[in-house]
Amino acid sequence: MADVVVEQGRLVSSARPRKAVGLRNMLGRKSTVAFFLTLPLILLIVLLVLYPAFYSLYLATLNKAMTKFVGLGNFTFLFKRETFWMVVKQSCIFAITAVVFKALIGFIVAHFVHNIPGKKQRKWRGMLLVPWVIPPAMSTLAWLWLFDPSYSAFNYTLSFFGVGPIPWLGDTFWARFSVILVNVWYGAPFFLIMYLAALKSVPDQLYEAASIDGANWWQKIWHITLPMMRNIIAITTLFSLIVTFANFDIVRILTSGGPLDRTHLFATWAFQVGIQSSDIPLGACVSLFMVPILAVAAVFILRDVNKRGNEA
């Protein structure tokens, strides 16, 4: 309706013969052209995102041989399994601990990098970004070699301090610790670079005003730095939470589920159940459980960002 009105207005103003105007309007409206320009992207998303999502919804309602519709049978079966609840707990522990430590390390290191003079910053930034640049599957292999039970370089070093050999990937606690450590190592540089950019965008006058008012460094961080970085912290945390929650390669390579399934996450367990034990419907079911949990996290974290508009 609105389109028609607009076109009539244009028709009056241009005052050309009727037929030509119709054609010109078709081309000049540009909405059609814009639609065709985005069409490849839309097709890509439909084919590679929407279709698989709905296909996995469909898969989750089949029985193991994928011949019969069982409705929510897979879900009720999962709820009765102890391993499933263990995986839920482990995924939450893994994601929350890893993201907290990544954010902390990123925040602290960003401050240190921000402190040193400009010329040297680039060198340090480059050095600290290395873990993020190496493909995680490769760097996890290096970690695997560092954790290796018989040739472990860490245990070799620790033996000088009289600390006995630690079963890095053999013991429940240490296996979880190692997996989280590798994830923190891989993810912290991302936080570092985001927080460094945020720190640089905080105007210096605020700090000067604060020091004139006699604020100490903690008050400066609490009342200036954190509020100014708030949106970036929220978005980075959400993004990293999603990626960490869905982590696959690190756990798969380091422990592949670990001692007695104690390091399984949703993604690795879904792989184990769905592909390796060839119960694809159940695997699809497991992986679908990531959706509601991540949706809740997204709502909680992004609620504030939307309210505050585009400050960041």
């Binding site: 320009l37 992207l41 390390i105 290191v109 040193i116 070699w145 370089a153 070799y156």
Partner: protein, 132 residues
């Protein structure tokens, strides 16, 4: 202790103490940056060290953090194996094609979303899309 007393005693000293504070902050920054750099760089460096070792040296229980008889034989073996060259070629082809296809799809879409008007958003009308 004494610096604190001087600090409070005279405002003329204030500037000196501030620059001294900054120098210490800088030193601490470097100290912790080095610690974090060690944490971040250990696996890649260890990978490099191990790549220079022969299998015999790896299984001998020497200091794993250092290579005593460096050898390039691993690299030579890799670069002369047809299989590895094949993989290398595959990686290059995949990355080049992926970049090209991504560009072809995303550049028009980005332009259309940012600079042109859609049915869904009638109000925002950038200058470039205004009808002549």
């Amino acid at each position: 202790m004494s610096t604190l007393a001087i600090d409070k005693a005279g405002p003329t000293r204030k500037l000196g103490s501030m620059s001294r504070d900054r120098a210490w902050a800088l030193r601490w920054s470097y100290f912790f940056l080095i610690l974090f750099a060690i944490f971040f760089l250990t696996p890649p460096v260890y990978m490099l060290i191990t790549s220079l070792k022969s299998s015999a040296e790896i299984s001998a229980a020497t200091n794993p953090w250092w290579v005593f008889h460096p050898t390039l034989s691993n690299y030579v073996e890799l670069l002369s194996s047809n299989q590895f060259l094949r993989f290398f070629w595959n990686s290059s082809i995949i990355s080049i094609v992926v970049v090209i296809v991504t560009m072809l799809i995303s550049i028009p879409a980005a332009f259309a979303l940012a600079r042109m008007k859609f049915w869904a958003r009638p109000r925002s009308r950038p200058a470039s899309s205004s009808p002549t």
